[in-house]
């Protein structure tokens, strides 16, 4: 992985840890619990992907930087949330960027393992969203993305676009940028105009 991609990846982990900590701050968790839930939010999706693909030890066991970044971001959030107000809008945008990044990275890792394109897309979505699902389970709630948010669908569209562009020989960089951008734009648009799926 290039240095830029590695830094982006760690930044995504930090953003997901921050949003994870903020998402559960009104639950009845103690400080330790919030930090654990934030870390699980940040690394849970990639962990599930690695376990299902058989890429073990999972990514954060191989490279301790992920766990340390997630833990540090969570602790900093917990400490400073009393003193400063986190800019909600900026966080939502950073979270959407993280979703786009993790989707493309996860899809790419699955494709490298020579799985069927449909499975690779599922793995991309899982990489971006499963952390939030586990977070909600730990907080004893029905996962948000299964209830009302356009989140996983934005990720799915980006993953599919990435795969189609790769197969159309659009070049790895263009495909990755387009996939991440599509996920990002759909997610931000869904927040902006409150898109949601009908309830079953």
């Amino acid at each position: 992985m290039t240095a830029l991609l590695y830094i982006l990846d760690l930044s995504g982990v930090a953003v997901f840890a921050i949003t994870g900590a903020l998402a559960v701050r009104h639950k009845k968790l103690d400080l330790f619990g919030v930090v654990v839930v934030a870390m699980v939010t940040a690394i849970g999706g990639g962990t599930l992907r690695d376990v299902l693909l058989g890429r073990t030890p999972v990514f954060w066991v191989k490279d301790a930087a992920y766990l340390l970044v997630a833990g540090s971001a969570a602790v900093v959030t917990v400490v400073f949330v009393r003193f400063i107000s986190f800019p909600r809008r900026a966080l939502l945008i950073a979270d959407a960027l993280g979703l786009g990044l993790f989707t493309v990275l996860g899809t790419d890792i699955a494709l490298s393992a020579n799985v069927h394109p449909a499975i690779a897309a599922a793995m991309g979505v899982m990489s971006g969203t499963a952390g939030g699902v586990i977070r909600d389970l730990l907080a004893n709630e029905i996962p948000l993305i299964l209830r009302k948010e356009i989140y996983a669908i934005a990720s799915l569209c980006g993953a599919v676009a990435y795969i189609i562009l790769l197969q159309a020989n659009a070049g790895a960089q263009l495909a990755a940028l387009a996939g991440a951008a599509i996920t990002f734009v759909l997610r931000v648009a869904a927040i902006r105009w409150r898109w949601s799926f009908p309830v079953f």
Copy 2:
């Protein structure tokens, strides 16, 4: 695996996806959430079995047909549930058949991995039941099979019968048929006469 067994396996996945979708239809999930939960119900048990045995990538990553069948069955269920009423009794019987099938298949896969017979039985039960457990966790409920249903016990009896018959040299086909039949009959009888375990 023979062609017949493969078709049976995919049919079991479809049935579990349909019953999974119907089981959560009154929860506050959106359409996307119902489809995801239905897919998890269908493939969750075999996934857990494969992960614990170290058979990775897990079965549906190796063969995309499982995910596509589960997804299609879930989408069709979600689309048509408004227009047609699913025959409840037929679904319960199909579900019991699926339980018998997954139990024997799961036990057989574990035995092929040379584990202790007690572990193989546990793996068979897990293959048949863990998907429903994850479904209930996602819907924020105490899993049904831990509360009141004779479901896992029917699976356990079938798995044990299968192993005993195999060890008594009854022949693989007879053992498999008997194991699946025992699970099926116990499950249907439990529904018919409302058998349940005492609450602790």
Copy 3:
């Protein structure tokens, strides 16, 4: 593993199964559900550790004694809880001993897999605590250790002490004893003086 360590390990599994069964006895589970939840409590932490490290098949699949001991302890608890009262204090102390043991064992297994010390500490904590987290999820509650108990922190301190002593060449036996003792003492002190973390 020496014979003594093996017996200690199985004893820890039995203790966790007993406390697991007692922890969910007022939930609406049937007898089967209580036994399953108790077994998951006993072997869940080590299972997660093994899966994340890629040590598959997981420990209890390789050696059926773990599952049989956990199941037997759970069944005995369920049967006898009506007739005898379990000594609450003795159980809390046995549970704290189990936590110390599983912490050091889990950390040691991770170190043997050549992971970063910070990851090894996380694996030690997970070995000791993840079973209880899954137990609470199955009982549809926010995990106790994320809400108010000094439990995982006691485990973390023991794991860190064990690693530091090993790196300071204190000898494997002394390091293990000290790590387990620190976890045990912190946990018992937390119960005795009702230490808890501030809620976020």
